[in-house]
Amino acid sequence: MLTPMGKGMTLKEEALWLVEATRYLEEAQGVGEETTALAAARKAEISIEGKIARRAEYLPSASQLLVERRALMRVFKLSIAFALVLFLVLGAFAAGAAFVVKDGHFVNIYWLLSSLLGIHILSLIIWLGGLAFGSGGLLGHLVSDISFSIARRVNSNSIRLAAVRAMMKRYVRGKGGLWLSSALSHGLWGAYLFGAMVAIFALLATQRYVFIWETTILSSQSYEALTHILSALPAQLGILVPGADIVRASEWPLNGDVSPGAHLLWSNFLFAVLLLYGLVPRILLCALSVFLARRYRRRSELDLSRPLYARLVPLLHPVVSKTDIVDEDDEGRVTENVTAQDPDIPVLEAEKTALLGWEIDKPEHGWPPSSFKGLDLGIFDERAQLADKLSQAQSRERLVVVLSATLSPDRGVGAVLSQCIQAMDRNRVFVWMVGAHQVKQKYGDAFMEARLGDWLSTAYQAGVSERHFLVAEWGDRAAQKILGDGQ
């Protein structure tokens, strides 16, 4: 598989973002013919993801995209800061509004708590439900589609659009996006609650309130029990909270003697509940969400099955990683260039010719050609038989070696021809190439010319005269001449 990322090699957030943004840009604009970036990335000995990222960095679009990213990040951070301040102020105002004061000094503590924490707890429940049942994907898609169409209407610059898309991909969509939006909502709620607490502190610091509770249909015991339950955690932490007698005494209309310290205990209770059931859980959840968002983002590797990457893989990461020459040719063999000459074949009596077929196929009309009257040495391809055949040929004036142009020449044939020349003498050896027509038909003129050229130089290097080199098919007139039957 091509997917695994090299061990210990993780791409930085910005690099991954750039890769995504570049992908969006290239999916839209097409892949540019940017060879410098490609070459730089191919050279790097890193994972394929690393190479894709390296290429993205080297593309001319990278700097523009990163400028866009910085701008978008700035907008993003500013918006978050603005929203935090807004929620802080909202919280403060909400706290002020929740301070419903009765008869000048009396504040209903449970009314105050439920109006400050009620929606907060409801939203927590919805959030938990969303985690358990819903997928963040849908919301993410919605948000990213809306932002994209806004961006598209505002500005049709493709760099910016690609940047926006990449932002959405990295920060809004998927699991990471889900946790990031969770972090955001917890943060905003935290700001809201913090604002509320600040406002309450200011009010309590500057005014004298008496905390009371009242009910029409519930029993007093239920309030005592509720206070007891809510106080359990603060009490554990050592915060002084109202005891059962104070709770009973604080029922409106005041039915008991409220001790002078009761308002302080109630204030403790109010802050402790807001802090422990409001602000602290939100801050903890916010931190957890940020952590999870980061983790998911880090984990989201490049999806190499995307067609665009599929196109880059063979270019960046070729099947062959390296080529080199390990054993150089030190002989530097030179092939002598011989130009083809008209064959010069003297007329000879038929009986004075010996005919030898080397590595050829038996001709259609039989071997030897019917007009041949000389010594037939046969067709063969085994070197061991050669010496014996050549000793027979020595009784004749001329040795004609028939070779096939359908094969390519090699030093083996060269050695055979050399041996013939040693046995006979240069002037008595002739080479007759058959099959050129067949080669021409199958591979064309140029190929045939090249092939015959190779044969000529092989023969020449073996010592055969370039004028003793005949190209002719079976039954050609020129062939009659070489067979010693020529007129």
Binding site: G30, R165, V326
Partner: protein, 458 residues
Amino acid sequence: MKIAVVGHTNVGKTSLLRTLTRSVEFGDVSLHPATTRHVERAVLAVQGHENVALFDTPGLEDSSGLLAYISALKEERGEDWVECLSAFVSRQDLQSNFGQEAKAIGQVLKADVVLYVIDARLKVRAKYRDELEILGRCARPIVPVLNFIMDEDSQADAWRAQLARVNMHAVVAFDTVVFDELGEMSLYRKIATLLDAKAPLFDALIEELQERRRQLKKASATIIAEMLIDCLMARRLYEKEDDHARDTAAEELKTAVRLREKQAVSQLLETHMFDLNSYIPGDLNFADGDWAEDPFDAKVLERFGLDASKAMVGGAAAGLAIDLMVGGISLGAAALTGAALGFLVDSARRYGGRVQEFLSGQAVMKVDLPTLKLLASRESALLEALLHRGHGAQDPIKRLALSKGDVLVPLFDAIKKLPVKPDWSRLNGEEGLVLSARRRDAIQNLAGHIGKMISSSS
């Protein structure tokens, strides 16, 4: 893991390496014998495993001479075969005039496994038997590879019989010119069976190559789909009743489409690691988009066998079963000469009339379906040709067999369902509007159909 590639001269050793490494640049390939004079290495990096190094060697040219020489040397030195061969390759003074063979034998002795390349077009002859004898004496596992088996002259059976006689049964048929995915796999599988301990390495290599091929098909289909979307959504506006404006718009649109197809072709070639320049004759100036063959010339159309009057509307019986018989025109030209684009003008007029009511005073010109069909089938045909082309192949592709009309039906059903979105086309000059996710989905959808077309016909 070292794999030595040996064989007689001019049997396609370097071509085999090119095909296995998907590289048209490896080594030197020519029709002359003894082109490769040195030993060249190509390293395949297999993720998570050791590398596989393939060694291209000079051809064994005079094996009969060498066999006689080594036999004599062996007698003289009183050593066994492997000792004698080792001395032969390491000492230049013992190499006589067999320096080239010594290089090849040297790699054989060092290799874990040997690929013996055979030109299956050739008859089994004494010199090849001598080669096999020498290689057998090297005591390395040998996998004979029959090259050119797709050739009409192939004598694969005679070769198999001969190889069986020298106890080589794990023969692989692998044509370096006509690429066969299964052939490549069986090549590595046979190596793996000879080297049992290395099976996981070759399994990983095979898996990686298969994955690459899947990705390659997907990427190629996407390239074609992108081109189709761009052409499908391309629009040009012109003043109604103004013939000159209409002709200008038509010319502009034709040029844009032509260039877009050309772009797709170079993307395909690049993705498949084929060198564009090897297939384009010099007189066709590719870089300038200037083609010797004018696709709008009636005579050219006629020569390509395209009857413009019987436009391929509805994919009639013959449909698109047109072979571009282009003797002498190579791959690039055949693929790029926009023969079908001749339909463009007429159809554009037809569509223009239909849409112009919607716009006051202006008419819209777009590319019609028959043209798109030809673009689709021509590029698919090119893709298919590329998928079955070995990187060792030298001749240009001379003929693209266009797919039949009915193969295109699912693709064009999908195309007809697409919404009209001029801003999806890069040919409309409005930069930046093509980033929509729906466009991307549409491209993926079309690419899926193209992928199916390719796999169903091959």
